[in-house]
């Protein structure tokens, strides 16, 4: 987890060069241009392979300081590096949230009404928090059908470190509140919490909180996820298993959903060029920071062109001068936005190759096929031309040159999204949802309130499995982050509002040895407008985990736990309070 850093220099002719560990090089270009009245084209932003970001490198901060410092010293290169302590104290951090949840349900556990109020701790600057506020409101119910819904989502300035996007874009915060409330409701109704979620699961034809009509394509299938979860964790209702005189075992569950909320008109692009050995270069504007987006795009392209993925080269470093604009590498929508652009570029590659093939083999382009880096006639695959002999133009010895080098492009722009109506909340803020169901099993010590996390499970509707090991890895990582956050991570401030935990000595993280066994299962309900029907998954593994852990602890302690982090001392305090009352 590298800290954030930026470097700026200004050449004699006024051109600005910025190098930064950012998820959003094109936003850097636009914001610096706007702030300092520079034509965007005169700003060049370079981004190397970024080591971990999770949303925290989406805001533009140090780039502006580096630019101003360089400007002050007549354009001399200036690098701004902040220490870990400064990074944690002053650079934007993850969101804090308080919520009030009121649910109205039948005795059987069918929720008919909900009034939800969220208070977001935006910290000292607004930054992107108002958008998180909107994002929370737009998805506030979780993957459930609640017909009568009232939601207020307030973004509040406080004297704390300011908030920005962090894996899940506010979703893990409100999901924690909702999913804990659902377990309380299940207890009150004496209904199995998993059954309660099934009863209320959103189905095709239901409305989302912002009144978008749910379909299998735009929402996926939460019912299947829950049923699969029930099967894989062998769920038989909430149970307390005695391990010995001090230790009991419990499991908690939670559901998740999330839609990306990029602004309407966000763009992406892909350019494909070839090398003399017939391999190709896939050039997109997506930053790679370990979420596997580039690999996923390469897999899709390899499948589409029916070629070996090893012959596809992706570029890890980004340069706004060369790479086509991609909105920001955020919101887990590389597969969707850049994926659509890559598919179009692949179509262009195929049409250019088929065009050339038709001229070489004297047939129509429809009679030509492309596979395994070869171009051939469908009716005679034995006679073929290797990519290396055609992608830079076909140049047979002593014969005339045919065709031209293959260079293809594909583009994408987000359409059909709308802002939310201020009065009714109605509007379509994202292209689709991804849904999932999660479970956490713990061993809880009833004597000292310590616990060990034993198993963590996710069933996610991924639309289409692309690169299964990669997908599992991303979801394992999400669960690990969720467990770490829920069990120990805290931005703790003293009376004067100073951060008490400004480094990794005091800000605790889950370590190797404390990890549970992770399990991931997939459901495949295709998203029809996305390449291969794939859905966004990169952030989602984190979202329901804090609630699942909390629900397991609520069951173990017989207290309605509804705060994070879930440290043994916190649990002890709750138990003491219970005994006192």
């Amino acid at each position: 987890m590298e800290i954030r850093t930026a470097r700026a220099e200004i050449s004699a002719d006024g051109k600005v060069k910025i190098e930064t560990s950012s998820q959003s090089p094109f936003s850097v270009m636009k914001q610096i241009g706007k702030c300092f009245n520079i034509d965007a084209g005169n700003i060049e932003v370079h981004v190397p392979f970024v080591g971990g970001a999770f949303g925290g490198k989406a805001p533009v901060t140090l780039e502006i300081l580096a630019y101003m410092a360089s400007f002050k010293v007549n354009g001399t290169p200036v690098r701004v590096i902040i220490s870990r302590e400064e990074d944690m104290t002053s650079a934007p951090c993850r969101l804090g949230l308080d919520a009030k949840i009121m649910l109205g349900a039948t005795k059987e556990g069918k929720i008919n009404a909900a009034k939800l109020t969220f208070y977001l701790d935006s910290g000292a600057y607004a930054d992107i928090s108002p958008y998180m506020s909107k994002s929370i409101a737009a998805d506030c119910t979780g993957p459930y059908n609640i017909e009568n819904l009232y939601c207020d989502s307030y973004c509040i300035y406080t004297n704390r470190t300011y908030s920005t996007s962090y894996r899940g874009f506010g979703h893990l915060c409100y999901t924690y509140c909702m999913e804990c409330a659902l377990d309380i409701l299940a207890k009150r109704c004496e209904v199995d919490p998993l059954e309660l979620r099934l009863i209320n699961a959103i189905k095709p034809g239901n409305l989302s909180p912002t009144q978008v009509i749910s379909t299998l394509s735009n929402t996926g299938n939460i019912t299947s996820c829950l049923q699969k979860l029930k099967e894989v964790i062998n769920w038989k209702g909430p149970q307390i298993k005695k391990i010995d005189n001090e230790v009991i075992r419990t499991t908690g569950i939670a559901c998740l959903w999330k839609q990306a909320v990029p602004p309407p008109g966000s763009v992406s692009g892909a350019i494909i060029t070839f090398n003399s050995d017939g391999s190709l270069n896939l050039n997109t504007g997506n930053v790679e920071m370990g979420s596997g987006g580039q690999t996923m795009l390469a897999h899709m392209l390899a499948d589409k062109l029916k070629m070996d993925i090893k012959k596809i080269h992706v570029n890890f470093t980004k340069d706004t001068r060369f790479n086509p604009e991609h909105y920001k590498t955020v919101a887990s929508i590389t597969n969707y936005m850049a994926g659509n652009a890559v598919m179009k570029a692949a179509d262009e590659v195929l049409s250019q190759l088929k065009e050339m093939g038709s001229e070489i083999f004297s047939c129509s382009p429809e009679d030509i096929d492309v596979a395994e880096s070869k171009v051939f006639r469908k009716d005679n695959p034995q006679s073929f031309i290797d990519f290396k002999d055609i992608v830079l133009g076909y140049k047979p010895e002593n014969e005339k040159v045919i065709g031209q080098p293959v260079i293809a492009k594909g583009t994408f722009i987000l359409k059909q999204l709308s802002l939310l109506d201020p009065n009714t909340g109605k509007g379509k803020s994202g292209p689709s949802w991804t849904v999932g169901a999660q479970a956490v099993e713990i061993e809880f010590n009833i004597k000292d309130y310590t616990y060990r996390i034993v198993n963590a499970t996710t069933v996610m509707d991924v639309g289409k499995i692309v690169n299964p090991d990669g997908m599992k890895g991303i979801i394992y990582g999400g669960m690990a982050m969720g467990l770490s956050m829920a069990s120990r991570e805290v931005y703790d401030y003293n009376q004067e509002g100073r951060l008490k935990t400004p480094n990794l000595r005091t800000y605790k993280l889950l370590h190797i040895g404390q990890e549970p066994l992770y399990h991931v299962e997939f459901i495949e309900t295709p998203q029809l407008d996305s390449p291969y029907g794939s859905r966004s998954i990169s952030e989602h593994g984190i979202i329901g985990i804090p609630a699942a852990l909390s629900n397991a602890l609520s069951l173990a302690t017989n207290i309605n736990i509804n705060e994070l982090p879930l440290t043994p001392e916190y649990l002890w305090r709750q138990m003491e309070a219970k005994h006192d009352s």
Binding site: R488, K508, Q514, P568, W572
Partner: protein, 281 residues
């Protein structure tokens, strides 16, 4: 990384070390003897204690001794926690050291550094207090050797320019049965909420603590209660927290009340076993 310039010197005798100290002290303000340096790095990074000069005592042969001689275990001040643990010469001290920081740091942190450092827990002090260890101190004055119990009150009371060059423990004491329990807020590797060290010597339990207060201590008051056969386990548990030398520590790792809860749980387990078997192991 320490981003400030400082003087480094590595003398080869304890005399030279003291000479170096006196000379450097005339020129600069913060002169530290050091063994492992892990704490100096931490403090310098935090900006709370940046050295002007450091004197590395690892070059002094006596500070690196770790041997049994005439039924006395001699431990040099610059011997690392890991070396003590691997030698198996003093299992209790080895165990205590093996729970301080991570393995990389245990290979670096020295016993002298842990006792004299600024981080308040100083968990190697507990076994030494319970086993009547003596410390040999060298400095501008004369060399002195005295029981740790006499010179350690809240922290070790060294005069200016003095350093621990050796620790001596009777072989018999290194072999006493012991229990060492360290509880942290959540992590395996962390500062203690409470560390409890118990030995059984001549039929009596001895107890020393770290984490519960702002300094480590052995409490004879608590030992009196614990060893009193007239008092039930329940009553003992209720009595001991009133016998702490100061109110329990509250910080980001845990509140004082919670530390008491954790301490009682630890002692309860030890006493249950003790009452059943008349032995702590």
């Amino acid at each position: 990384m320490i981003a400030d310039n400082f003087i480094y010197c590595k003398p080869e005798t304890k005399k030279d070390a003291v000479k170096a100290y006196e000379k450097l002290k005339k020129e600069s303000n913060k002169v530290f003897y050091y063994g492992g340096g892990s704490e100096i790095i931490t403090m310098a990074r935090a900006g709370s204690n940046v050295p002007d000069a450091v004197i590395d005592i690892k070059g002094i042969p006596e500070c690196n001794v770790l041997e049994l001689k005439n039924d006395v275990l001699i431990i040099g001040g610059a011997v690392s926690l890991n070396d003590i643990n691997e030698s198996k010469l003093f299992p209790l001290l080895g165990t205590a050291g093996a729970r301080i920081a991570d393995h990389t740091n245990q290979c670096r942190i020295t016993v002298g550094g842990n006792i004299c450092g600024t981080i308040i827990y100083r968990e190697t002090v507990l076994p030494l207090l319970l086993t009547d260890a003596k410390v040999s101190i060298y400095g501008p004055g004369r060399r002195r050797t005295l029981p740790l119990n006499e010179i350690f009150h809240e922290r070790i009371k060294l005069d200016q320019g003095e350093f621990i060059y050796q620790i001596k423990v009777k072989k018999e004491m290194t072999e006493t049965p012991f229990i060492h329990v360290k509880k942290t807020a959540n992590e395996k590797i962390d500062y203690p909420l409470v560390t409890v060290c118990v030995t059984q010597y001549k039929g009596r339990l001895r107890m020393a603590f770290s984490g519960i207060c702002s300094y480590p201590f052995r409490s004879t008051d608590i030992e009196e209660v614990i060893n009193n056969p007239e008092i039930s386990v329940g009553d003992k548990l209720n009595l001991i927290h009133n016998l702490l030398p100061e109110p329990p520590l509250t910080d980001y790792e845990g509140s004082g009340k919670y530390r008491i809860f954790v301490m009682k749980n630890i002692i309860e387990k030890i006493l249950e076993r003790y009452h059943n078997n008349a032995k702590i192991l």
